[in-house]
Point group: C2
Chain length 125, copies 2
DNA sequence: AGTGGGTACTAACCAACGGGAAGTATGCCG
DNA sequence: CGGCATACTTCCCGTTGGTTAGTACCCACT
């Protein structure tokens, strides 16, 4: 009983190779904070540093800086720094980031819908 | 410019709360090995321990055991152990696991399709 | 004139988590 | 009787992430 098998066609040997470039991208994107940042930016509105800190509740400043740096390097996020004082920096999704966020969104919706039930099962196990 | 906003409706304050149950589920499911195991099982076929080790290339035995334990506790994976010698254990997705895998699949497809280009950008940055 | 505060980070330290290799239980087969 | 096969568990150590503090800059207030 198959659900949808485009993956199986791409991986004829059914193995996710260790050296595959997707591993690196997966690590960046599916990381705890990377996911939350992408989702926070997901509605397309640019956000500032402090706003991101508030949305991804619990993120440390170090982790936010690090996460943003890799997301910018990967071309998911655009960093727009205005040379004013006090500093004003806006972060927004690139087209590539928007594509990814569109995939992440339904997943997050499913997780928040099912999380309580799942944790209940886990607790009683 | 919005892509799809069911999430915004569920989070009126646009904040992903630190204590939200979804955080725990996200940590389990989006973890490096959790993701690969779910995807490996994604075609619905039950797999044995050694087969999972081969598909999620690079996973250590310790991490595979740990990952499977949390996925079973969360009700994503079914563990079917036959009391024979040598031991024979089969892992398969529960209906809940199948739902999740169906969401994870398109994401993984996108990532493998775009990973080379993304890493190229990251390298030249 | 000085001092405190807000913004966007960086640096140093430390605990915790993940990875590697080896050990364990059980029975069959040579 | 000893090695092998499967499915794990245990121990040790390195990397990773978290916490706290510090930096640079200028404005506003006293």
């Amino acid at each position: 009983m198959k659900v949808s098998t485009p993956l199986a066609e791409r991986f004829p040997d059914a193995v996710f190779a260790a050296g595959c470039p997707s591993r690196t991208v997966l690590d960046h994107v599916m990381s705890k904070w990377g996911l939350l940042v992408l989702l926070s930016l997901g509605d397309g509105e640019p956000l500032r540093w402090s706003e991101l800190r508030r949305r991804a509740e619990g993120v440390s400043e170090k982790m936010l800086a690090q996460t943003l740096r890799t997301l910018v390097a990967d071309g998911f996020v655009l960093r727009d720094a205005r040379p004013v004082v006090p500093p004003h920096v806006e972060y927004s999704l690139t087209p590539r980031g928007l594509e990814l966020a569109a995939l992440l969104n339904p997943l997050m919706v499913w997780v928040v819908d099912n999380a309580p039930e799942i944790l209940e099962d886990a607790a009683s196990a």
